[in-house]
Amino acid sequence: MGDRKTNWPLTVFLLIVSAPILIMYLWLFIDSISEINVESIWPKEFTLRNWRFLVQDIPGHGSVWTATRNTTIFAASVVTIVVALSSTAGYALSRLKFPYRAQFLGFVLLLHSFPSVTLIISLFLMLRMVGLYDTLIGVILVKAALELPFGIWIMKGFYDTVPWEIEMAGLQDGASRFQVWHKLVLPQIMPGIAALAIFSFMAGWSEFVLPLILAPSSEARLLSVYLAGLMIDDYLSDFGLFKAVGLFYVVPVMIFYLFTQDKLMNIYGGGTKG
């Protein structure tokens, strides 16, 4: 509708309903760089003390950098698997002819409605069977598999939006089906890939339960556990520290988000095309 003029009542209204989010995240930032004032919510004075965890270990909680590295590896592996497998399976479901295609798709949707956390015991048995219990690779595979139905569904939606004629043209130009997918179709759904990547990154980045139970003797402590440990430690009353660590935990995702913002807006765009 072209560029509109500011509609002040509307803007003010949105500011009010968005206030909780704005306030919460603003204070997350403020409190992380100030002395916490017990009497009031207004900060007392500027300090970088809350960020000390970056340069020294908080006793009993290990190094934040180790946790960050572990979490990054974990999340990146999950992203790689989810994106790779969803982008192939999503393409097959959207574009290729094979038996039971509709059943596959219906099944993927049904799986989406399963509370995955109740699968722990079965997952344990499966991991043992394939010999991956108590390994980080096993947990990564499990996490990725649990994210896959969502990923496949979303990617299928994105592929559906690519015009068939582009593929037909590719075939006529002599490309094989694989070349068509790889050289012509994949570049069209980059926004979808970016969106799926950020959401599966998020899922991996904040995972908490699976590694604890399925790889219990793993030394790879994740950021989520690091933060939960800090927050629940009865004798660490440092709210400023929590907030700083919390911010540290959110920032990578935020940065990723800023770079992909426009594409992210499309995440569900694909999935809604009937």
């Binding site: 997350l28 192939t88 409605s113 109740t118 699968l119 998020m202 339960v209 989520s224 995440i267």
Partner: protein
């Protein structure tokens, strides 16, 4: 000549299919199977385990098993008979010790380990360490109590070692009673139907899903429409703001809500300036904030879909409405909303399913409280039952039952949802046939 079927679908589907099958489909199926077992953390998961304990003996008596048999099963004697002495000889004790035992204790029988140890202490070349005394005890003990067997044959051999011979029927009965492992049962479903928690949790779940849905979908619409009528800079800003909760790790997001609703948090401070006494608002109005916290996260999804749906409405239609003199809100009511029926339906159905199975934010926010099951939803209850129970055991079987119920509801809703969305169109035959 027809045989040019490509293998590409196979290569494209295989990795995802294998991963999903191994780590999702089979586990889902196993969960269904588990829902018919008494499996819990005190039964273990793998294999059988047969053991006669004090409690077993009491239970056998209660169940009217032959008193003589019970007595023999419960007996624990330390006998220096031939076999016992031979075992002592092979137990690795020093020869003088063995020799003295053979000389002084041959033929002796003790009714308890305490008496045995007392007798051992009277020897000159006595086994001095606890381990050595235990070695003697182990060599001469004649009992089945507290001995662990992993197989039925093992257990039968164990019975034979204390000279208990039973017929097959009695043996099978015994086997059932001394097995500490899980068994097949439909009790989980019976309990679910009989318990009055079920209704309470069901009501909670419906309440939660319904109101969160209204919040989600309502706010998503408001946001999508409001940002549509804004300069693009502003609309970008607001959309970004509403996506932040969605991309924050739940731990952080919930921590912020707690800070917001604390006695000493923002709300109390803010309302304090109007003279309202500080309160723990989360504790006071748990449902309100459970719904808010989930709603603020969920609204972003609908917002994105609705925003793109509004953009997809042909401009001519809106121009026409504008020319006809419709104010924005009239445009919304008369033109935009009717054209968005489909996306609204989609978001509603999709969110219903997601909300039904989600529990993470409630877990972190109220953990089902305050008080008893105040905000406990079905999925959260399944989590509590199967995964997190401070005291006592984790009831895997019952937790699986709860999950199965959720799956059944999920499947029913999905089928409805697929019908509404013309599943056939989603899987239209690909035109490229080569």
């Amino acid at each position: 000549m027809r045989g040019r079927r490509s293998l590409l679908p196979v290569w494209f589907m295989l990795p995802a299919s294998v991963a999903v099958t191994v780590f999702f489909v089979i586990p889902v199926f196993m969960t269904f199977v588990f829902s018919f077992t008494s499996m819990s953390s005190d039964t273990g998961i793998l294999g059988n385990r047969y053991i006669v304990t004090e409690a077993t003996i009491r239970e056998l008596t209660e169940r009217g098993v032959d008193a003589d048999l019970v007595k023999r099963l419960g007996s624990r004697v330390f006998a220096f008979d031939q076999a016992g002495l031979a075992a002592v000889g092979k137990s690795g004790l020093k020869p003088p010790v063995v020799k003295e035992i053979e000389e002084k204790l041959a033929g002796a029988v003790f009714g308890s380990e305490k008496e045995l140890f007392a007798a051992l202490k009277s020897l000159k070349n006595r086994p001095r360490s606890f381990r050595d005394r235990k070695a003697v005890s182990k060599a001469v003990v004649n009992t089945i109590v507290n001995r662990e067997f992993r197989t039925a044959t093992g257990f039968r051999a164990g019975l034979a070692s204390i000279n208990v011979e039973v017929d097959d029927a009695t043996f099978d009965r015994l086997l059932g009673l001394v097995n500490t492992s899980w068994s097949w049962t439909t009790k989980n479903y019976v309990e679910l139907l009989a318990s009055d928690f079920t209704l309470k949790i069901l009501a909670n779940t419906m309440f939660y899903v319904f109101f969160t849905l209204i919040f989600n979908v309502g706010f998503a619409l408001v946001l999508a429409l409001a940002t549509f009528y804004m300069p693009s800079g502003q609309s970008k800003f607001f959309r970004a703001v509403w996506l932040i909760p969605r991309i924050s790790p739940s731990v952080i997001y919930v921590m912020l809500w707690k800070w917001f609703t604390f006695d000493s948090g923002f709300m109390s401070y803010f309302l304090g300036t109007f003279g309202v006494a500080p309160e723990n608002w989360l504790n006071e109005y748990p449902w309100t904030f459970v719904i808010f916290a989930n709603g603020f996260v969920g609204a972003s999804m609908g917002m994105i879909i609705f925003a793109s749906a509004v953009l997809a409405i042909p401009r001519d239609v809106l121009h026409a409405a504008e020319v006809d003199g419709a104010y924005p809100w009239q445009q919304v009511r008369r033109v935009i909303l009717p054209m968005m029926a489909w996306p609204i339906l989609f978001v509603t159905s999709y969110q219903t399913l997601s909300l039904l199975t989600s529990f993470e934010y409630i877990l972190l926010l109220t953990d089902g409280g305050p008080g008893f099951f105040t905000t406990e939803t079905w999925a959260l209850n399944a989590y509590h039952t199967a995964l997190s129970n401070y005291y006592g055991n984790l009831r895997y079987g019952f937790g699986a039952t709860l999950a199965v119920v959720l799956v059944v509801v999920g499947i029913a809703l999905s089928l409805l949802y697929l019908r509404l969305f013309d599943f056939k169109a989603l899987v239209a035959e690909p035109p490229i046939e080569s």
